[in-house]
Each structure stands twice: as C-alpha cells, then as structure tokens.
C-alpha cells in the first residue's frame, strides 16, 4: 500500500508541452496575420515595423491597419474558445455553445437596431457599447425569467426564448430599415468581420474580454467536480448556482464584447474545446486554457484565409467559420450518435 501511495503525487499528468506549443502556434499566426494583405510582408519586415525600424508605410500598415485586426482575432477567438469550454463544462455536454443563453444574439439585436435607426455606422464607437449593453440586458432578462437559482433546464429554455426574441427583433430591424443601404450594412455587419477595425475597437472590447477571461478561469476546478453531477458537486462544496451565474455573466461579457466589435462569429466556441479535449484527457477544468488558445488560433487562421482566398468581393470571416463549422458540428452529432451504444458520454 505505502509504495503505491508514494506514486500518488505524480499520478495522471497532462501533456506538458500542450500550452507552450499552442502559444507558439498562436504567435506564429499573429506575425503571419500582420504580414498578410494586399501588401505582403515577411516576418522580418513585420518585426522591423513593430520595433519601429523599416519603411514608414510598412509601419502604418502593420501598426495601424493589421495590428488591431490581429489583436481582435486573437482575443475574440480566445474568448469564444474559452466560453465554449466553460459552457460545455457547466452543461456537461460537448455540444453546448456560447450562444445558448442568448447573449450574442441580444448583442447583435441591439447593435442592428442602432444601425437601422441610423444612430451609428458599422464602425462607429457607439455600436460596440450598445452591443455590450445588449448582452448585459440578456443576462438580466435570463435571470428575471428563469430566477436566480434556476435549474439548467429552465435556463436553457429561457435562453432559447431570449435568443428567439433577439432574432425576431433583428429581423424586424432589418425589415424596418429606412433604406436598402442600411439593410445591407446590417446584413454585412451580421456576417462577422475583423476588417478595418482600429485600436479604438481593441480598447473598447479588450477590457471586457479580459474581465470575462478572469471570471471564467476563476472557478475552473469546479467544472471537474461537476462531472459527478450537480448534486455531488454541491456536496463537495461547489456553489453550483453561483457557478452558473459566473459562467452566464462571463460568457455574456466576453462574447457580447466580441460580437460588439466583430459581428457574429459562430462555431469557434463549439469546435475549439472539442479539438483539445483528447489532449487534456477530457478534463473539463484543464480544457479551458488550451480551448482558448485553440479558439485564437482558429480565428486568426480563418482571418488570414479570408485575405488569401481569391474572390470578387471579400469573404467575411464569420461566413468562413460557419462554412467550416457546420460540417464539423454534424460530424460531432454523428459521432455522438454512434458512440451512444458503447459509451455513456
């Protein structure tokens, strides 16, 4: 007995190099993102522009046009991956997505209403603030409808209702748009894009995303206890009702801010946690950080791809993530279906 006890300390190790490897890949994509566009720049030229040497036009291209875009792709992708992992941990379901409780839809609805009313243009500073307000509103609405200590089922149903309401509102706003240009502006904004964003957009979204990240990582070990179900987790000392509120608020804050500056970008939150799960031995707590980094990698890669794909008009990154994401979602469902026979998960 005593010798087996001695082994306890170094029991199940996660793959030690996973997070550094993902970080390295993210950094490489970040530099690649700064170099990709109508004017192609090599890594050396990019580094020169960042450090302040090199030609002035390169510095402007990198620092003022591409840097905001790369920062947003990294942070929004990370936020979506982290939110997806947290939602899946909370719901103990690999098919849960950050949009489940209606925060991104509500953020989009409020933003679209602003556009339709002509109160702001698609790249104005009022739009993100209004969208973040919309995400907050969805949380208040969710708690008002479902109650503070609501069960998951009630929360999911309420989230469904709020999403549907926000979707209907969005449709109405487009319907009532004063002119076809406004409707087109709304439609394009909804597709999700990181083009032409400035450092002001970064400054608006980043504080919320940072706060949401801290909120979602704060109670991460509770997700492992939740693997035993809510009642057993509660008996282990986890405040499950509070954890639910933390996740709902964190996701609304982070994803709301993401939608606010980039429109709706789907499926990253679903795909990123799933890709990382085998590497962390399915541990929902250890999953959070790798899922965030994978989300960042996926969105940066997609945002580089839309700049490289030859097309008559530019493809929006939200469209690309959906086109790649939907088949992946179907694959997940099919795998779930065929594994039901043997595997309880």
């Amino acid at each position: 007995m005593s010798d087996s006890a001695a082994r306890a300390g170094h029991a199940v190790k996660p793959r030690a190099g996973l997070v550094p490897a993902l970080l390295l890949l993210a950094v490489l994509l970040f530099i690649l993102s700064l170099g990709t566009g109508p004017v192609r720049l090599g890594p050396g030229e990019v580094m020169a522009a960042i450090t302040g040497s090199g030609p002035a036009e390169n510095r402007i291209i990198v620092m003022e046009i591409r840097l905001p875009r790369a920062i947003l792709a990294f942070s929004i992708g990370a936020m979506l991956g982290l939110s997806g992992a947290a939602m899946q941990g909370l719901l103990r379901n690999p098919l849960a997505a950050p949009s489940l409780f209606g925060a991104p839809q509500s953020a989009a609805f409020v933003a679209v209403s602003m556009l339709a009313l002509g109160w702001t243009d698609a790249l104005g500073w009022r739009l993100p603030l209004a969208a973040i307000g919309g995400a907050f509103l969805s949380v208040f609405l969710l708690i008002a409808v479902a109650g503070r200590n609501a069960s998951l089922l009630l929360l999911i149903l309420s989230g469904l209702a709020i999403s549907a309401l926000a979707g209907a509102g969005t449709a109405l706003a487009m319907n009532l748009a004063p002119n076809p240009f406004a409707a087109l502006e709304i439609a394009f904004w909804l597709l999700g894009s990181l083009e032409d964003r400035s450092l002001r957009h970064v400054a608006m979204a980043l504080p919320f995303i940072a706060a949401a990240t801290l909120l979602l990582l704060w109670q991460r070990s509770a997700f492992r206890a939740l693997a035993l179900g809510e009642e057993a987790a509660e008996s282990l000392g986890v405040d499950v009702a509070r954890l639910r509120m933390i996740v709902i608020a964190g996701v609304a804050l982070g994803v709301g801010a993401s939608v606010a500056v980039a429109g709706t970008i789907s499926f990253i939150g679903l795909v990123a946690p799933h890709l990382m799960r085998p590497f962390v031995r399915h541990d929902p707590a250890r999953l959070l950080v790798p899922a965030a980094l994978t989300g960042a990698i996926l969105l940066m890669a997609a945002d580089i791809a839309v700049r490289l794909i030859p097309a008559t008009s530019d493809i929006k990154v939200g469209v690309l993530t959906s086109i790649i994401g939907v088949p992946f979602f179907l694959y997940l469902i099919l795998r779930q279906r065929f594994s039901l026979a043997g595997d309880a998960t």
Binding site: M1, S4, A5, R7, A8, G9, H10, A11, V12, K13, P14, R92, N93, S221, R224, A225, L226, A227, L228, G229, E231, A232, E234, S235, L236, G237, V238, D239, R281, H282, D283, P284, A285, D343, A344, T345
Partner: protein, 258 residues
C-alpha cells in the same frame, strides 16, 4: 460520547408539499445505520437535508456545530455524500474521480496533490479494490467497477459522516455484499455511516441500527431485531417476509403481498 449527528424537528417542503415532517433523530459515531422505507417515504430527502442539499427547517447539529453555521468547504469535509446512480459526465480517469473526494480539502488539481491527499486517495482505492482501474476512463467501467470508484471517492474525503443513497442499487450480489462490508468497515474506523437500502437481509445482518421511514416520518429506530418485525413489514411495506435465522441477523426475504 456526544452524538455526532442530532436532528431536531427537521422538515422539508418541496414544491409546496411537505415531504419530511419534523424529523428528530440522534445517532452515535462508529455505527452503520441503514435507512429503510418504501419508495417515497422521504429517505433520499432526509439524506439530502443532512447533506445540506435541500433547504430544511429545524436544526441539524454535527459534532456540536449547527449545519447552517458551517461554510461549504467545512461542511463538505465533514459530510461525504454518495448520490444514487453513480453518473459521470466526462471520461475522466478513476483516479481523478477518487481525487475529487479531496476537493473539499483544497485539492483543485489531481496532478498536484500533497502527500496526505495522495495517501488518502490511494488508500481509498486500495480498500475498494479499484487501484488496478486507476488510469481507466470511468465511462468504460462496468457498473460494479464504477460503484467501487464512487465509493472510493467518498471514502477518500475521510469525513466523519458518510451518507450513501442506495449504494448497492443495480449491483450484482457480490458487489452488494462488498460495498456494504466496506461501509461497515468505515464505520468501525470511527465514521457514522448512513446508507439507504432496500436489501432487508444486508440491512439486518450488517447494520448496527435501522431507521425505518414512512410517509415523511421516522416510524421506528433501533436494532435490526427491534425494528424489522413482521407487523411493521405488513403495515409499512404491505408485505409478508420469509425468515431464515443465522447467527448474525438472519435472512429476510420479501415473499408476498400482505
């Protein structure tokens, strides 16, 4: 010795319906107590109230401290709760599941346990014979293996009060006996173990005390011989039983409707 667990007029209402009617009970340490009663008698509710999982009126006093005064981690260190069903939602390894038993002691990462926590986990796994399963995903284990892992998780906490809700349900006869014997052994090392069961023979043979419930009330509390009478089987369960005496409590088999 002071009773480690005292319930004073503990009541629970769920959805406007009273499911537990002011139950009072005092239990001694180092005992295995079987909680018996028909379906819907309030056994699980009583267990959940004792674990602090449902809002209850009255007072539950644990080692001189009211349950309401304990914060969550302190309560979780004193009360280990084994729910019905043994569900696990992710294919975590058996050792990671057992290590969750140390969660109330501050183990938030099973790969970084100190010596005491590691020892508690390995001891619990050795006692329930699930050390060979340590690195296997719990979702790939058989029902009996999974029940042992869940029991090890509860034992690893080292709590003075263990609440087990039908720990032998859906287990084969060998595992039913093994699990109950392990709970008995845990009581012999000082813990108060309360187990809900429908197995009359195992209850009568292994339990030190029986608490019999019906319709949200405790109707009898005493030794198996005192509580498990033919009259009570007829009145509470509506059944006749067949008995075969042995030196340690005897076989009690449900035989027919009364």
């Amino acid at each position: 010795m002071m009773p480690p667990l005292t319930l004073e007029r503990v009541g629970v209402s769920l959805g406007g319906k009273t499911v537990l009617h002011e139950v009072s009970l005092a239990l001694q340490p180092a005992r295995l107590v079987a909680l018996l009663g028909p379906n819907g008698a309030g056994k699980t509710t009583l267990l959940r109230a004792m674990a602090g999982l449902v809002p209850a009126t009255g007072e539950i006093i644990l080692d001189g401290t009211s349950l309401q005064q304990l914060d969550r981690p302190a309560r979780a260190r004193r009360i280990a709760y084994l729910p019905q069903g043994h569900q696990v939602h992710w294919p975590l390894s058996a050792r990671e599941i057992v290590a969750l038993g140390r969660y109330p002691h501050g183990v938030t990462d099973p790969t970084r346990m100190n010596e005491a926590d590691g020892l508690a986990v390995e001891t619990a796994m050795a006692r329930t014979e699930c050390s060979p399963l340590a690195d296997r995903a719990v979702t790939t284990l058989s029902g009996g293996e999974r029940a042992r892992v869940m029991l090890a998780r509860v034992l690893a906490t080292g709590a003075p009060l263990i609440l087990a809700d039908e720990p032998t349900a859906s287990l084969d006869p060998r595992h039913q006996i093994a699990v109950m014997q392990e709970l008995k052994a845990e009581s012999r090392s000082g813990a108060l173990v309360i187990a809900v069961t429908h197995d009359l023979t195992l209850a009568s043979r292994l339990a030190d005390e029986i608490v019999l419930m019906d319709a949200g009330r405790i109707v009898a509390h005493g030794t198996p011989a005192e509580v498990l009478t033919d009259e009570r089987f007829a009145a509470i369960y509506g059944i006749r039983v067949l008995r075969h005496p042995t030196e340690d409590g005897g076989v009690i088999a449900p035989w027919d409707l009364a």
